[in-house]
């Protein structure tokens, strides 16, 4: 009897989708208890189209081949003093931001997809989530291994996970993922698989990975390429999720729309950190944040939302504000970090004259008018030996947790500020977007662990700021923080390069 050749779809159905069964002895709802409370209606899980059909044996095989190549490069980087090949020691600070701010999110993604990978009643969706869960674990671990070598030669990498749980600006990424993971399983997928992985991921990935390529960072580039095929799978999952939810029931449409509005705003706020990395922290520039935003969000996202219109989905709320922000956010953010540079676990600096010119050229409508004068002033002060640091602690937005530093987009000299009162308590926000997210779910956001509040309440040690930095954040004060100029990083670099 000659064996039939099964096509991939049938094979995958038999090998995977067919493993589950209808329960007879226990209540299935008790085994998968979180599917209904968000109001999402799933009428038929069997309509789920598997976004990719990988069986485990193939997964092991492909992934092991990728890991082998990746670790060969890591070994080579370590053996050949790869850290001395980067364009400029300032570049290492982009990596510090990545390890302390982004790698822990990979871990949270791993956990969030483990949760949905256990909880979804549909076996196809569940297993797609499980594979993403293990991929995301791969990402955090390979990133730690890639950074392991840099950690041996630069300051600020050494306590990345401890810092992620505590340091003021790291509560921006941490709260973003805590928000998604604490939400219901369908909101998690709309937040992470769709909004983040499908629509915004290029704005995180391209800046860091091309940034690495432009700045001689072999380890990160290789990691980036190696993770790309994982990301391709994650993106197809994101698209399948949204289509599945919208096709399952019309009542899902307004719920999904609200999540899209929320998570696009949350996402753009999070990407503020990437914007300043791109425009200010990369010594060799890839493209400006504004250009990246236009290519990866406006063009790609525009087409996507046109496609989703047939389901009754419109482009995310605040689109007009978001469009204006690309001219401003990176400048406002780097200025903030520069002024609080005594409390950051990476170095900050004034852009060189060449870099200021590049910014003027890339932002003809805003940079010279609003931002260049600040840097010219900072340069003067520095030349007089008065590199300034802002004293005092900033007020944080109760939603995105970024200090209130964004301006009104129609009037960039006016600080934006919103507030609301909930149960006799006043809450502050950076924008309408953050305000509205709070108002929609106040019971969630009153819980926010706001680093500045926590310091003021004495929950982070003290009494002085330096005590907090040293004892609670475990920063090596005087090495990890402050200006690039005169830092131990800079001194070591100069000695490696034989510069006096």
């Amino acid at each position: 009897m000659a064996a039939k050749k099964l096509n991939t779809k049938d094979k995958y159905r038999l090998l995977t989708r067919d493993l589950d069964w209808e329960f007879s002895y226990e209540d299935r709802k008790q085994a998968f208890p979180f599917e209904e409370f968000e109001g999402i209606k799933i009428t038929d899980w069997s309509k789920w189209e598997d976004p990719f059909r990988l069986t485990m044996d193939t997964y092991w095989k492909y992934q092991a081949e990728k890991e082998k190549k990746l670790y060969a490069i890591f070994d080579a980087v370590a053996q050949n003093n790869g850290h001395t090949n980067i364009s400029d020691p300032r570049y290492a600070n982009a990596l510090k931001l990545f390890l302390t701010g982004v790698s822990p999110l990979e871990y949270q993604a791993h956990q969030g997809f483990a949760h949905t990978g256990r909880q979804f009643g549909g076996v196809g969706a569940r297993i797609a989530c499980q594979m993403q869960s293990i991929d995301e674990l791969r990402h955090v671990q390979t990133q730690v291994h890639a950074m392991s070598h840099y950690n041996k030669f630069f300051d600020g990498f050494q306590d990345w996970s401890h810092m992620h749980d505590r340091v003021w600006y790291l509560s921006v990424p941490k709260s973003f993922f805590d928000d998604a993971r604490s939400a219901g399983p369908f909101e998690f997928l709309v937040a992470i698989s769709f909004s983040f992985e499908y629509v915004l991921t290029n704005l995180l990935f391209v800046p860091f990975m091309s940034g690495a390529a432009y700045n001689g960072d072999m380890a990160t580039v290789t990691f980036g390429f190696s993770a790309q095929s994982d990301e391709a799978r994650h993106m197809t999952l994101g698209l399948e999720v949204i289509k599945f939810l919208l096709e399952q029931h019309e009542d899902n449409v307004p719920i999904v729309q609200e999540w899209i509005d929320k998570w696009f705003w949350r996402g753009t706020r999070l990407l503020t950190l990437v914007s300043m990395m791109m425009d200010y922290m990369l010594p060799n520039k890839v493209m400006s944040w504004k250009e990246a935003w236009e290519v990866y969000f406006e063009e790609a996202g525009g087409a996507l939302f046109k496609d989703l219109a047939r389901y009754g989905i419109r482009a995310p709320k605040y689109a007009e504000t978001i469009e204006k922000e690309k001219e401003h956010v990176s400048h406002q953010a780097w200025w903030l970090f520069y002024s609080y540079g005594d409390a950051t676990a990476f170095h900050t600096w004034i852009p060189s004259d060449e870099e200021l010119d590049w910014l003027s050229e890339k932002y003809p409508d805003t940079f010279d008018k609003y931002y260049r004068p600040r840097w010219e002033m900072a340069k003067k002060m520095e030349a007089q030996g008065k590199r300034f640091y802002t004293k005092g602690l900033p007020q944080l937005c109760n939603c995105c947790q970024i200090p209130l530093m964004f301006t009104e987009m129609d009037n960039p000299t006016q600080l934006a500020y919103r507030d609301t009162v909930y149960k006799d308590e006043r809450y502050h926000f950076c924008s309408d977007g953050c305000h509205d997210i709070f108002v929609a779910e106040p019971e969630k956001y009153v819980q926010s662990w706001l680093p500045v509040h926590q310091i003021l309440q004495g929950n982070c040690g003290g009494p002085g700021l330096e005590d907090v930095l040293r004892d609670y954040y475990r920063m090596n004060v005087g090495a990890d923080n402050l200006d690039m100029k005169g830092s131990p990083d800079e001194q070591r670099w100069n000695s490696w390069k034989g510069v006096a």
Partner: protein, 331 residues
Amino acid sequence: MSVEIKTSTLEPVRNTFANIERRFGDKPATRYQEATYDLQAETNYHYRPLWQPEFELNDKGRTAIEMQDWYAFKDPRQYYYGAYVGQRARMQEHAENNYAFFEKRNLAALLSDELRASLIRLLVPLRHVEHTANLNNMYGTAYGYGTAITQALLYDAMDRLGIAQYFSRIGLILDGNSGDALVEAKQLWLQAPLWQGMRALCEETLVTEDWFELFVAQDLVIDSLVSDLVYTQFDTWLAANGGQDVAMLTEFMQEWCKEHTRWVDAVLKIAAAESDANKALLGQWVERWRGKAAEALAPIAQEMLGDDALAESLAALDKRLVKAGIAGGNL
């Protein structure tokens, strides 16, 4: 201008990350260490889960087991992602060769009709048991605490999906890729009295809340009994009854079982050695699930191997319990 780099000037500032240094001292660390310890968030969570507001996102309280340091559960295999997939890729390559050989030589044709029927009846339904194990290990991954144990649970969960798929392929080999054997085996799983105890047990594990209890039920008790029955005793029986080639199709699982046992035993030993309270708890859980599993497996063991098989598997389990320091003599 080219710069001469003197390697002697490139002394590292530190050997490893600070958290690793706090645990193991200032010396070069292994990849397992850097990829495992303290990866998971420990504090300052922003919001309680809407789906379980009684807990934090990561919460030690999701099991009754208590540990001073949840990172005590060092994996004896030292698997981080790269090491894990590397090892499984080697095993799957070997399995692939076995399956290819089996199919090319059409070894299925050498099986008697009777033997083929009993493989469909006794072996192929195990894919549903493995699917349950996939979910139960995902449960520990999602709600457990500390990367040392949760990453190992995730690798285990993915292994079980892989094994469920290997069992399914055995079905496809037996039915010439028509899928009929899988349909038949699923009907047995859903309806045959032979499998109902086991199916009820699987369903019960899926509604068990304490993740460490679930680990004991699944990875220790059920797995220990099933592996002894299927991969040891049934394998021996097959070899003596014209089914020796089937071992080529289950070799992956046999090899996997040895490794799985090594990890599970290490975890249990560490948990039991931590405190008398843990030890007592583990003892209670083992007793509860050992009884249920024995009952569920009794008809299958009987049909597969006859009267003494289950007792033999239970004895093998009890031996492991003594070694892990759980059994207090009442077992």
